[in-house]
């Protein structure tokens, strides 16, 4: 029996193995890039929308912030937070949430690392790519750095987080896993005329 190898739903060009995942070894030359970030740890926290757990987490619905551990906490829905961290950190992130209590309301923590396909779109013209497939207003006034919203991208229910990298506009997009290849293809197609390139996963920013 071979060692378990984790696969993303998005087939990687020039595959290599990193952190127990099959990822792409490609490195983009330009600055408009698409990266499959599915290996990132993703943990879902559910608690009362306005209870003690919500105050402790401290990230309101519609916003995303990094906490002291460098984990990106996303207020993805009312009473729902998605925590994103480097690969293989599910146990640690779940342990950190054990301390979060919602007494008397229950708190539940679910590992969705394998349940979501996650893609990062980065570049000065990232909004031009996204605006071909997404009807939400991407201006700074409406969806600034740190905004989180759930919408339809290429007719697929998708969560979007604006998470600029070193001042460059960047979006994290995630959908339920089985549609991951479709979402990736839709973004690649939307960015083709702008010269979008696939960049392999390197856990950037986490």
């Amino acid at each position: 029996m071979s060692e378990p190898l984790a696969h993303s739903p998005i087939r990687p060009p020039e595959p290599v193995v990193m952190s127990g995942w099959e990822v792409s070894g490609r490195r983009a030359a330009g600055q408009l890039t698409l990266t499959d970030c599915t290996p990132l740890t993703k943990v879902l926290l559910r608690a009362d929308v306005a209870g003690p757990a919500a105050s402790e987490v401290g990230v309101p619905f519609g916003r995303a912030r990094r906490n002291a551990d460098g984990v990106l906490v996303v207020g993805s829905g009312p009473g729902e937070w998605l925590l994103l961290g480097p690969p293989g950190q599910a146990r640690q992130i779940r342990a950190s949430l054990d301390e979060v209590t919602g007494e008397p309301e229950p708190v539940s923590v679910t590992d969705l690392t394998h349940g979501r396909a996650l893609i990062r779109l980065t570049g000065e013209r990232a909004a031009d790519v996204l605006s071909a497939v997404c009807g939400v207003d991407l201006s700074d006034a409406v969806t600034p750095d740190g905004a989180a919203f759930r919408t339809a991208v290429a007719a697929l229910a998708t969560d979007v987080v604006r998470d600029d990298v070193a001042g460059v506009r960047s979006y994290l997009l995630h959908c339920e896993r089985s549609s991951g290849q479709y979402l990736f293809d839709a973004l690649t197609s939307a960015g083709r005329d702008l010269g979008i390139e696939i960049d392999g996963f390197q856990a950037q920013g986490f």
Partner: protein, 967 residues
């Protein structure tokens, strides 16, 4: 053609010309070679070479030439290569283009279809309501003949499809029209801080300034430079606003000229906070005999040809002028060396009576009766106000007899729509741009106000959550005062619509004034009725050149005024748009399981199940089924819906949505459940297991995964908001596979750690978690859809492919092989397991699905209970039964009817040849009186043949006691 560079009719350099004389472009026109300059349109290049006839009209096939020299020119519609209906006076020449006239036979010059002109008395408007109808059997012949005369160009079926993208935009201000007013409004709005999308129909900004005098050209250069320098303005040229919908949802069509690459048209869907409408005015023709002859042009056509393309429009001209633009055309003609033989000033009683010629204009008869021979007649009779966007915004314009055109009803506009430029009124260039600047600034102010209101309504928009760029989002009370824009003066203009003789009103549809009068005489006595009967204004121009003239004819025929009889309604799209642009790219989400690469590599025949692609079989489904019964098989069932349920109230939820009882399900146990909707109809079924104190995993059917998630959330959020249950869909967080067959335990023991797989430790209908093939946190439950010893494994999805491949590899000596959806269908049918939606339908209530054992009517209220109580009391409903045809070699088609005499008493719902039994097996819905085991029923096959079948004692045809699953 002549030797002169640029063509026989090419003029020397003009100050405002858009052609690049250093670059020549070769193309062909009806097979003959021509040369134009870069920047020429097809029509201007051909006109420069002396061509005058570009098309034949729709019905009568009359020769037509340049009329407006703009996008809207009805005489210049041509075919370019494989692309039909190209606007020849707008599309630029391209190297190697094969341009042809449309629907002319055998040629443009000698078009035998012009025979229609002689049939004119029979081909009046609406002729197709009265002719070509009888005898009815001759219709195929009429159709074949009429088809030859339809004028719409050709599209080859071999044309490769183009990939047409869409784009969403959210400008603060969208300015429709890039003339001086549009540019001034855009600048003012941008300088007030708004993001602006400036949309211009032509290839360049500037509107009428482009073919104006020196002062106009200087003003144009100044405005254009300012626009280019303003970063907040995005300019779209060769783009047109198709329509304005509720809430300023605006469709903009970008045409080919603006885009490089393979894309043709692109639709931009814009949600603009405010819309500034500045389309200017469109010059319209005058109605008189011969007004459609090549050589009869509007004054703007002449000015465009001379000033933009340096083309001399003719040699000897007569001019009808009713306005300053007509006068300016006279000056341009003289400057271009055209002999201006007569200027009829309509303001002083001048008029054109008729124009005459065969293929082209030869002479004109003027007001005083003199006949002047000429080759060019220039008409400046007045304007159409293109108010369509305003109409779409709900403000119906009113006709002003003084101005001889429609003027907008500003008061009727919603606050998010403003008007400026020639559409709003007249005045000097400074007055117009001054008004436009005020409109632009006001549009920006209103946009800021609207934007603030939208953001306040957004969830999570507390002051610290969302900040606009460069400062806090404060409310400035002075911003709330809505400015009132000054009115522009509206100049008087003679009413010049229909002359003394009968002429064309709608050039595209070949509708004459006589046709309209005849329509009114026949009883179609309003603008809308006359339009529908004659098709006037229903052509590609959609009324831009013809609606006012048509209204004038109809009003006159009725005996009222234009203001009273009205015009037709402007509806989107403003211009014709290709279906490809509207459709855009095909967004059809596709879903794949993690094991898809293995399925593809092993020859799986794909089955499309909703958005999922599943393996139907791998070549021999019967063999796959046999392998499961005899050895061990593996099926990918990832699409099965899975819901992670956590919280103290899960058991209450299960009792509510399922028909059976869930309060006493121990940790580690699994139960099969059926859900019914409120009408008692079977909604879904699945298996739910208890993984912990407050932690359950529910499975649903594949096709019901999304619907059941919504069903459960609906109950929790709206009906039982006090219950605490966290529902997380994990359908695709797990790769699910069913391992089934007598050798299953042997195989699983080789790969599983942390779980005692013996039958005593892990009995049927229980659940465990453990490590499989080195992967932690896998869920295993023992259930039996196929009727064999089986485990359903739910593996963290990223490891699904690894576990699948490991199982097949490790189990090779046991005969482990994949089986697909078809084999599973066979196996479950052999076991009599029904499929919701296959063996039940939208009317099948619980007791008609053989679920008597499951429905616990002694429970407190549950979804569907009242209906099920009634159904139970009335036992006459249909029943689900097993059926075996007497002749086991006959496999009845699914949905074959079950007959009692002529009466339909049921249908076969599932039917397969059973490889295990070597005979056909079925499930069927039958009337209660036929449901007794042993009853003989008659099945009517689709061929009409009747066969007999017997109702079986159990639904299961194989192993009805279920012993094979419990080992």
């Amino acid at each position: 053609m002549s030797e002169q560079p640029g063509g026989a009719m090419r003029l020397p350099q003009q100050p405002g010309e858009v052609i690049d004389r250093t670059t020549t472009i070769d193309f062909s026109w009806n097979g003959r070679p021509f040369t134009g300059f870069a920047g020429d349109t097809i029509a201007s290049a051909l006109a420069a070479a002396g061509e005058r006839v570009f098309s034949r009209s729709l019905k009568y096939h009359r020769p037509r030439g340049v009329l407006t020299a703009s996008y809207h020119d009805p005489g210049c519609i041509v075919q370019v290569g494989d692309e039909p209906n190209v606007r020849g006076a707008h599309r630029m020449v391209s190297a190697g283009a094969a341009v042809t006239s449309q629907n002319t036979w055998p040629s443009l010059r000698l078009d035998l279809k012009a025979v229609n002109q002689y049939a004119a008395p029979v081909l009046t408007a609406g002729f197709y309501y009265k002719t070509f109808m009888r005898p009815r059997f001759a219709w195929p012949l009429y159709e074949a003949v009429l088809r030859r005369f339809v004028n719409g160009g050709r599209v080859s079926p071999d044309t490769p499809p183009s990939r047409q993208a869409k784009r969403y935009a959210h400008p603060d201000v969208l300015v429709a029209g890039g003339g001086p007013a549009g540019m001034a409004a855009a600048l003012a709005a941008a300088r007030a801080g708004a993001s602006v999308l400036l949309v211009e129909e032509e290839l360049h900004l500037g509107g009428h300034l482009r073919w104006g005098d020196e002062a106009d050209l200087a003003a144009l250069a100044n405005l254009a430079a300012q626009v280019a320098a303003e970063p907040r303005i995005e300019v779209l040229t060769d783009a047109v606003v198709l329509g304005r919908y509720d809430g300023n949802w605006i469709a903009v069509l970008e045409r080919r000229g603006a885009l490089g690459g393979a894309e043709a048209e692109r639709l931009v869907k814009a949600r603009a906070k405010t819309l500034v409408v500045a389309p200017g005015l469109i010059e319209r023709p005058y109605v008189f005999a011969g007004n459609d002859l090549p050589g009869v042009m509007l004054s703007t056509a002449v000015r465009r040809l001379i000033n933009l393309y340096a083309v001399k429009p003719g040699e000897r001209a007569v001019v009808l002028s009713a306005n300053p633009e007509g006068d300016a055309a006279v000056a341009d003609l003289k400057r271009a060396g055209v002999q201006v033989l007569r200027v009829e000033d309509a303001r002083l009683g001048g008029d054109i009576v008729a124009a005459a010629g065969r293929a082209c204009l030869r002479s004109v008869t003027v007001a005083d009766g003199s006949q002047i021979s000429c080759d060019l007649l220039v008409i400046a009779a007045g304007w159409t106000a293109p108010t369509s966007l305003l109409n779409m915004a709900g403000a119906v314009p009113a006709y002003s007899p003084r101005a001889a055109r429609f003027v907008p009803d500003i008061a009727g506009l919603p606050p998010e729509v403003l008007v400026t430029g020639g559409l709003a009124g007249d005045g000097s260039l400074d007055e117009l741009t001054g008004h436009a600047s005020a409109a632009g600034a006001e549009a920006a102010r209103r946009a800021k106000h609207i934007g603030r209101a939208w953001r306040r309504a957004m969830p999570g928009s507390r002051a610290d959550a969302v900040r606009s760029e460069g400062g806090a989002d404060t409310t400035d009370p002075s911003d709330d005062a809505q400015a009132v824009l000054p009115d522009l003066p509206v100049d008087s203009h003679p009413e010049l619509f229909v002359g003394r003789t009968n002429g064309f009103v709608d050039f595209s549809e070949d509708v004459t004034a006589k046709d309209l009068r005849a329509a009114v005489a026949e009883g179609f006595d309003s603008a809308e009725l006359a339009k529908r009967f004659t098709t006037a204004t229903m052509g590609p121009l959609q009324g831009k050149l013809e609606s006012v003239n048509a209204a004038a004819v109809v009003a006159d025929a009725i005996g009222t005024s234009i203001a009273e009889s009205g015009t037709t309604t402007w509806r989107p799209p403003y211009v014709p748009v290709s279906l490809g642009a509207l459709a855009g790219p095909a967004f059809e989400p596709v879903r794949y399981s993690p094991m898809q690469p293995w399925h593809e590599a092993h020859g799986a025949v794909p089955l499309q199940a909703g958005a999922w692609i599943r393996p139907d079989h791998y070549g021999d489904p019967a063999a796959e089924a046999r392998n499961v019964r005899e050895r061990v098989g593996l099926i990918d069932v990832t699409p099965i819906g899975k819901l992670d349920l956590r919280g103290p109230d899960v058991a209450r939820l299960l009792n509510l949505v399922y028909v059976n009882k869930w309060s006493k399900l121990e940790i580690g146990r699994v139960r099969y459940g059926v859900m019914c909707a409120e009408d008692g109809v079977v909604l879904d079924d699945g298996v739910t297991g208890r993984l912990g104190e407050d932690h359950y995993l529910m499975s649903t059917t594949s096709s019901g995964a999304g619907a059941i998630w919504e069903w459960v959330e609906n109950w929790l959020q709206t009906e039982r908001p006090d219950w605490v249950v966290h529902v997380t869909p994990v359908t695709t967080a797990y790769a699910s596979m069913n391992v089934a067959g007598p050798h299953t335990r042997t195989l699983m023991e080789r790969v599983t750690e942390g779980v005692d797989l013996s039958n005593d430790a892990f009995p049927y209908m229980h659940v465990r978690t453990g490590r499989i093939a080195g992967v932690d946190e896998c869920v295993l439950w023992r259930i039996g859809f196929t009727g064999e010893l089986s485990y359903e494994l739910h593996v963290p999805a990223s490891y699904g492919l690894h576990v699948w491949e490991t199982l097949l590899d490790v189990g090779a000596d046991l005969g482990a092989a994949a089986f697909g959806v078809e084999a599973q269908r066979i196996l479950r049918l052999e076991k009599g397991h029904f499929i919701v939606g296959q063996d039940t339908d939208g009317l099948t209530r619980g007791f008609s699905a053989a679920l008597d054992w499951a429905i616990k009517l002694d429970k407190d209220d549950f979804a569907g209970k009242p209906e099920l109580v009634w159904q139970h009391e009335d036992s006459s409903g249909p029943r689900l039964v097993g059926l075996q045809p007497a002749d086991g070699s006959v496999v009845p088609a699914e949905a074959s009817l079950i007959m009692v005499g002529d009466h339909i008493a049921g249908r076969v719902t599932s039917s397969r040849m059973s490889p295990t039994l070597g005979r056909s097996v079925c499930l069927a819905q039958v009337e209660a009186r036929l449901a007794e085991p042993g009853t003989e029923v008659t099945v009517r096959l689709p061929t009409g043949r009747l066969i007999t079948a017997l109702v079986t004692p159990h639904l299961a045809h194989v192993d009805p006691d279920g012993g094979r699953m419990r080992v």
